[in-house]
């Protein structure tokens, strides 16, 4: 293994070094200075994110188990940016709640390990690497979910998460073994050639899909979502709904468009039903939620349904609009989660009614919330509109007009519950509104980045054009 092959894995290597450095920091930094660990972690991760943007080669390692190209590189960079914003937003929470309890380093290590797992999952060239990545990305999150060990709900959520995750990955693994039986290989490239539309491979695919469907929380694999989000600390819920889901969508995209391509007739029909089911269930359950975290859980289920519109199309346009949508979704959802977290950090309030009259005391945060929710609801000029529009175009250009119609009906329903949050903040009045508070520099930076992202990604077309040009690598 030469030095240049290390460069190909630089995302993974750097992150591993980062984790090791943090362990060293945990050992050598004296107890009363532990809060500097937060600065260190964010600083190092910032460097890691920046380095990731350096150009990369197209290369495979370990006999094809690990591969990388510009597209995979882009996926990792998107995830990095998301995690960076997430870290900025949760810096206060970590400093206040975790450092004192001596759990700060663990948080970072678990979070970064999960991210490392996602890297491997995305870069996988065979199902073995994929499965290792999948497990590595899921297990640490279960620990993170239970991080509020003092709270029963958090521990309960952790157990729920690990049990459902284990079941999902077990089913997925069974599916993979059936696919192996059908094709005689676990290498994606070989499988793509030898895959035929036999009932065995379709059964294998369906079982395999269940595992990823769990991570993306597609209906009917979504049941864990709301409970886990509610129990988990907000940064972890945010990580689950943004980063974890994004990574799973990326790998699903790769697999569906390459390995599973021969089964396209089967999975288009299946996804059609799942898309409608996911959008509708997510929306209908979101309508009545009053807890912000549960609310966002269902909202993110509904959003996942839209992603399927691009998958169903099965075209390059579909692929690029999915990547674009996920990028936008990361920024929009982080904006919303950021505001929820800012409020929760200062006041501990997470109920929607507590937000009544919030605009009059904290106009800036309310406006960020407005922008984030508009982006999720797909209202211009926020980027979410462009993301959704391109997804519709991708589906409609393959003739799925009815599906697009059902999707836009769902968008209108979703607008209702997004407006309910805005109604609380802007329209309703409150005798005791949440008083004005000032956010830390990290939080402000984290929110500012999301705002810039939401405004720029839609209006500035070269971003989409770059994604579009790179998505040709899928074929």
């Amino acid at each position: 293994m030469s030095f240049s092959s290390l460069l190909i894995m630089r995302h993974e290597m750097l992150l591993l070094v980062l984790i090791l450095l943090l362990i060293a920091g945990e050992i050598f930094i004296p107890k009363h200075k532990k809060s500097s660990l937060v600065h260190l972690a964010i600083f190092l991760f910032g460097i890691h994110t920046a380095v990731g943007f350096l150009p990369a080669d197209t290369e495979t390692l370990f006999g094809g188990s690990f591969r990388t190209n510009d597209m995979i590189h882009l996926f990792k960079n998107i995830l990095n940016v998301g995690v960076l914003i997430l870290l900025l937003q949760s810096a206060d929470w970590i400093t206040d709640k975790l450092i004192g309890a001596e759990k700060g380093t663990e948080f970072f290590i678990l979070l970064f390990s999960s991210l490392l797992g996602m890297y491997f999952m995305i870069s996988a060239g065979d199902f073995l690497m994929f499965y290792i990545g999948l497990e590595l990305s899921t297990l640490p999150v279960a620990a993170l979910v239970a991080f509020d060990a003092g709270k029963r709900k958090s521990s309960e959520a952790g157990v729920k998460m690990i049990l459902s995750a284990a079941l999902a990955s077990g089913i997925s693994l069974f599916g993979i073994s059936l696919l192996y039986a059908a094709t005689g290989s676990i290498y994606f490239d070989v499988m793509a050639i030898s895959m035929t539309s036999s009932s065995l491979s379709i059964l294998g695919f369906v079982l395999f899909f269940a595992g990823l469907g769990f991570k993306i929380s597609l209906a009917p694999f979504h049941f864990w979502t709301a409970d886990v989000y509610e129990g988990a600390p907000i940064p972890v819920a945010s990580f689950l709904s943004v980063i974890s889901k994004g990574a799973a969508v990326f790998i699903l995209l790769i697999l569906m468009f390459t390995v599973m391509r021969p089964l396209i007739d089967a999975w288009q029909n299946m996804l059609y039903a799942i898309a409608i089911l996911t959008m509708t269930i997510g929306n209908i359950f979101a309508l009545r939620q009053k807890n912000m975290k549960r609310f966002l859980a269902y909202s993110s289920i509904a959003q996942a349904g839209f992603i399927l519109l691009g998958l169903i199309a099965g075209t390059q346009l579909g692929a690029s609009s999915i990547i674009y949508f996920v990028l936008i979704y990361i920024f929009s959802n982080l904006a919303v989660f950021g505001v929820v977290q800012a409020i929760s950090n200062k006041t501990g309030l997470e109920h929607m009614d507590d937000y009544n009259g919030f605009y009059r005391t904290n106009p800036m945060l309310s406006l960020i919330m407005l922008l984030g929710l508009f982006s999720l609801a797909g209202i211009p000029p926020a980027a979410g509109f462009f993301g959704k529009f391109f997804l519709y175009t991708a589906a409609a250009s393959e003739g799925y007009y009815l599906l697009v119609f059902l999707a836009v009906v769902n968008v209108t329903i979703s607008l209702y519950y997004y407006l309910i949050v805005l109604r609380a903040m802007f329209i309703r009045t409150n005798d005791h509104p949440i008083p004005y508070f000032k956010n830390s520099l990290y939080m402000r930076l984290g929110l500012a980045l999301t705002v810039i992202g939401i405004l720029a990604i839609g209006m500035y077309s070269p971003i989409y054009e770059y994604i579009h040009s790179i998505s040709s690598l899928l074929n």
Partner: protein
């Protein structure tokens, strides 16, 4: 910077300036300055347009085209013809009048004016766009501020009204989106590239099956904003709860987007679909015309009366558009303009009356003519214009519409036309009833001394009153401006 893009840039600058402003006094000055500049620009645009039209025969003038999303062939493409110029001028006038009417907006003034101008930006952008995508973006930008405008500054069951209005309009725009996608994905029917550009799509023969499928989607998508029966229910509730300036802008300008879109997109791009479906929508719009008028008779709240009257008048716009001939279309555009000024004026006056008497119930009011003569006299004038008295804008418009409608000689059109015409009689009933109950009669004791009319109110009123009279007295100049631009559109339909 070209002359048209300024209509988007100036409002945006105004919005940014508003963010720096503090308190009511600064906010309203900034908003007024911005709207004044827009009005000046609108007048300049009319002048420049007339000059350009003399030497330029294109369908659209002052065109500009910048590629936005290359892969989808989405452009920022703009251009205007006589119709858009007229509607832009309408918008500029109503926005300025709205700012004057909101001169005393005490609660969150900055946010109010920001939302108002965001709405105006969307409307301007919509009228100058000739690219379906850009047009749709501006359409949504124009609609969404209504939620906050009604929700925060409204009265009565404002939360409910705001939610209902927003969801119905956004639901309609969702339907519209499918229609637009359908048009876009069929724009390569003649072998060319996919395009969103309206003028390019108009050259393409979209297959009949596609036209048949997407015309109703596009039509309904736009027409809900034009209060098409039975999708008009958002309008009375929304108007009744909205603050004065918002009702003005919404009924005066925003609802015109519906008719304009039907004309510019649905009918221009899908002419065969329009022919095929016209009977169905004629029934709906004629029902709307008569239903709105009868509804107005039954109401006792001034704002509801006016809102139902808008349903009736705008039903007439849709009805005229569905007649698919030049005279009726000229009438439709004139009616849009006339209704825009008139209804804005009505809502302004209602706002003033409500601000003084604290009631909008016509049975509780009475004898206002003696107490607040200026407002009352203008109310009578607006009423006369509304029922189509010769000498005011409404007459020319309705005359054109019904002359155009009678050009169809078959039974179906005749019946529909007669039903619609009968609404004029009903209009007279509800207008005169309001005038009789509210303005005439003895002065009620609680209204003995109402505050005098203020300068900013007079300015707002005059801004709207002058065009109404001008349109009525000299209609030919404006109808020439419009007729010229209707030609290329009607040719597409006749072929």
């Amino acid at each position: 910077m070209d002359i048209l893009s300024l209509f988007v840039v100036v409002p945006v600058i105004t919005i940014l300036a508003l963010f720096l402003a503090k308190g009511l006094k600064q906010s309203r000055i900034v908003a007024m300055a911005g709207s004044l500049v827009q009005l000046a620009m609108a007048f300049h645009l009319v002048y420049a347009y007339v000059k350009e039209r003399a030497i330029n025969d294109d369908i659209m003038v002052f065109m500009r085209d910048v590629v936005w999303y290359e892969d989808f062939n989405i452009h920022y493409a703009i251009g205007v013809d006589g119709i858009s110029v007229a509607l832009i001028t309408l918008t500029a006038i109503v926005v300025l009048a709205g700012v004057f009417i909101s001169w005393m907006m005490e609660d969150l003034p900055k946010e109010f004016f920001v939302s108002l101008i965001v709405l105006a930006t969307g409307v301007y952008g919509f009228f100058i766009s000739i690219d379906l995508f850009t047009m749709f973006v501006f359409y949504e930008i124009a609609v969404i501020p209504m939620y906050l405008l009604i929700g925060i500054w409204g009265t009565g069951p404002k939360e409910h009204a705001a939610m209902k209005l927003t969801l119905m309009l956004m639901g309609a725009s969702a339907v519209l989106l499918v229609g637009i996608l359908g048009i876009y994905l069929n724009s390569n029917a003649d072998g060319g590239p996919l395009t969103f550009n309206i003028l390019e799509i108009a050259q393409v023969n979209i297959p009949f099956a596609a036209q048949q499928l997407f015309f109703p989607l596009t039509f309904i998508g736009f027409a809900v904003l034009g209060a098409l029966f039975p999708f008009h229910t958002w309008s009375p509730d929304g108007h009744a709860s909205a603050p004065t300036a918002v009702s003005m802008l919404h009924a005066g300008v925003l609802m015109k987007l519906g008719g304009y879109g039907v004309f510019r997109v649905a009918m221009f791009l899908l002419p065969e679909g329009a022919m095929d479906w016209s009977w169905f929508f004629i029934i709906l719009s004629a029902t709307g015309v008569i239903y709105g008028a009868l509804g107005a008779v039954r109401q006792t709240d001034l704002k509801y009366i006016n809102a139902y009257s808008s349903v009736s008048h705008l039903g007439m716009v849709l009805f005229a558009l569905l007649m698919l001939n030049k005279t009726a279309w000229t009438g439709a555009i004139l009616q849009s303009l006339s209704h825009g000024f008139m209804t804005a004026l009505f809502f302004a006056l209602i706002g003033m009356i409500y601000g003084r008497t604290k009631t909008r119930d016509i049975y509780k009011l009475g004898g206002l003519l003696k107490v607040i003569p200026f407002i009352s006299v203008v109310y009578v004038i607006a009423g006369m214009a509304s029922l189509g008295l010769p000498g005011f804008s409404g007459f020319t418009a309705e005359m054109n519409i019904f002359v155009g409608a009678f050009q169809h000689t078959d039974m179906f059109h005749r019946v529909a036309t007669i039903v619609s015409i009968s609404a004029i009689v009903v209009t007279a009933v509800y207008i005169l009833r309001v005038i009789g109950l509210m303005l005439m009669g003895p002065v009620k004791s609680e209204f003995k001394d109402l505050p005098k009319v203020r300068w900013y109110e007079v300015t707002g009123i005059l801004l709207l009153l002058i065009p109404i009279t001008a349109l009525g007295v000299a209609p030919l100049w404006i109808s020439d401006l419009i007729m010229e631009s209707i030609k290329p559109f009607i040719q597409g339909v006749i072929q």
